[in-house]
């Protein structure tokens, strides 16, 4: 069973990964966007860890809702509302339970990813974070599936390279967006990787 502390550690681990990889995310965004994705994610996840430290929520759902709210009110850009919605809707789907199963987490994350797709209007193949998130939640299921989700997200991110962007800033580039990894897909892979790490996968 996964408790509030597990989710808190997921967020803290994700924050560390984002901090470490911020330069790379910004470089990716520099090629096909506006060179701020790493900076945005770092600012957001710093706010998340600070908020979680200040008054640690007692349930998995509350951790995720708080994290999502922080992203929405601190990040801005496209990634702020999208990642904020991902975490907040995941949290809402987790409900009030003090502990949840891996299966419940998988289901809640699927709801979160659906909300991202609804909000941003993107589909897999559009060269966005969904290209990492959708395969990841597809692979996620029981307790042993965290490693598979990490692999799926990482592969999904890399698979954005040959795609032509249809959403977000990169879409302005048309053909010129081809040949670059999508920064949001790369950061999604980091988040899923952090989850796998905390789960010991």
């Amino acid at each position: 069973m996964l408790d509030a502390d597990f989710f808190r550690r997921w967020m803290v681990t994700a924050a560390a990964a984002v901090d470490r990889e911020a330069g790379r995310l910004t470089e990716l965004d520099s090629a096909i966007g506006d060179a701020d994705h790493g900076i945005n994610m770092r600012r957001g996840f710093q706010a998340v860890t600070q908020a979680l430290e200040k008054e640690p929520p007692g349930t998995p759902g509350a951790v995720m809702v708080l994290a999502g709210r922080e992203l929405i009110s601190k990040v801005g850009g496209a990634s702020g509302p999208l990642y904020g919605t991902l975490l907040r809707r995941t949290g809402k789907a987790l409900g009030d339970a003090a502990e949840v199963t891996a299966e419940q987490l998988a289901g809640a994350l699927r709801a979160g990813v659906d909300a991202v797709a609804a909000l941003g209007g993107a589909a897999p193949g559009d060269k966005t974070m969904l290209d990492a998130l959708v395969p990841a939640v597809g692979a996620l299921g029981g307790p042993g599936s965290f490693g598979a989700a990490r692999e799926a997200a990482a592969k999904g991110a890399l698979d954005t390279v040959p795609l032509r962007a249809r959403k977000g800033r990169a879409s302005y580039l048309g053909e010129r967006s081809i040949g670059h990894e999508d920064p949001g897909a790369a950061s999604s892979a980091l988040l899923v990787g952090a989850l796998a790490q905390v789960a010991g996968a």
Binding site: I32, G33, P81, R166, G168, S171, Y172, L173, R176
Partner: protein, 330 residues
């Protein structure tokens, strides 16, 4: 890259402190990043709130004041502001007549303003929205996030602002704003990339002797890279790109805009070429504005925005405006 800053983390807050020091006629909330005209809310008047990433100054804060915006919300550099800012701004300027959000069409701006609109309406403020999407360099299709908002924003904010100051109701201010957006087209060219304070190196690499055609205002690369062109050739290309899409049937307002680092001397020379092309194409120009209004940090380059203006729009354009960056008639 050298910058006149303290540290990258504080550039927006520092600029807001400096704005407050220079403009006592504005209420600048540095902590919450909202700039409001001091006399807001004006009884019976529709509020106009805009905002977006910083780095495009004087847009938007420089356009807050009588005859234009009621409030502006600056985000981090090239990053749209967060919903809390717009909600706060809407509450500060709403007189009960409602608030129009002027939103440049970028995924981030759209999502954050949408969230803000929901929250503000929960708090009882009537919200209308207009999306500005004037940049013809981006095709508006299923395969893009739609055309970007660039120089046309200035026309929307000025003209809708004048309508609001005249006491037009929210639906009318909104419909005028939409009309202006539909009448505006822009095209931009970069001679150099810009450098964000946080990144510290140019956002793209533009070799000597090349330029980017069809750039946005966020340091994104453009649609196409070419060998260096003269001012006249650039004017031909940019104006034709705009006219192809706009096909004006009457006089236009022209904004010949610098991206931030192009000297005014060059910009005026470019304006001469823009007027030449428009004359050759038989398009009369009713008003021309030349200067750095919708910028991209220290990018060298320019953009052309044309706005087809009927008599009503022209009258509203000429109406008094008193802001930090645009001022006439009062």
């Amino acid at each position: 890259m050298k910058m006149l800053i303290n540290v990258a983390e504080t550039v927006v807050a520092d600029a807001l402190r400096g704005l407050a020091a220079a403009h006592p006629e504005l209420v600048v909330d540095v902590e919450n990043r909202v700039i409001v005209r001091r006399d807001a809310p004006v009884a019976g008047k529709v509020g106009l709130v805009s905002g977006g990433g910083s780095g495009h100054e004087p847009l938007h804060a420089g356009f807050v004041g009588p005859g234009m915006l009621s409030a502006a919300c600056p985000g981090e550099v090239f990053t749209s502001p967060v919903p809390d800012q717009m909600v706060r701004a809407a509450a500060a300027v709403d007189s009960g007549a409602g608030v129009l959000f002027v939103v440049k069409n970028y995924t981030g701006d759209v999502l954050n303003f949408d969230m803000a609109a929901e929250l503000a309406e929960d708090e009882g403020v009537q919200i209308a929205k207009v999306l500005v999407d004037d940049d013809v360099a981006v095709t508006d299709s299923l395969y893009t996030a739609g055309r970007r908002g660039t120089g046309g924003t200035l026309f929307v904010e000025k003209i809708a602002g004048a309508a609001a100051d005249e006491g037009a109701p929210l639906e009318r201010v909104e419909s005028i704003a939409r009309q202006v957006d539909a009448s505006c087209r822009s095209f931009g060219v970069a001679l150099s990339a810009c450098t964000t304070p946080a990144k510290g190196s140019p956002t793209f690499d533009l070799p000597a002797g090349e330029l980017e055609l069809g750039i946005g205002i966020h340091g994104e690369p453009g649609r196409e890279r070419r060998g260096m062109m003269t001012s006249g050739e650039i004017a031909d290309f940019a104006v034709d790109a705009v006219l192809e899409d706009l096909r004006p049937t009457g006089p236009v307002l022209a904004l010949v805009n610098g991206m931030g680092a192009t000297p005014l001397l060059e910009l005026y020379g470019f304006n001469a070429e823009v007027h030449r092309v428009l004359a050759e194409r038989g398009v009369p120009v009713a008003r021309t504005l030349v200067g750095n209004y919708v910028t991209s940090l220290d990018m060298a380059g320019c953009s052309v925005t044309l706005c087809q203006a009927d008599e009503e729009l022209l009258r509203l354009w000429d109406a008094p405006v008193r802001t930090a960056a645009l001022r006439w008639g009062c």
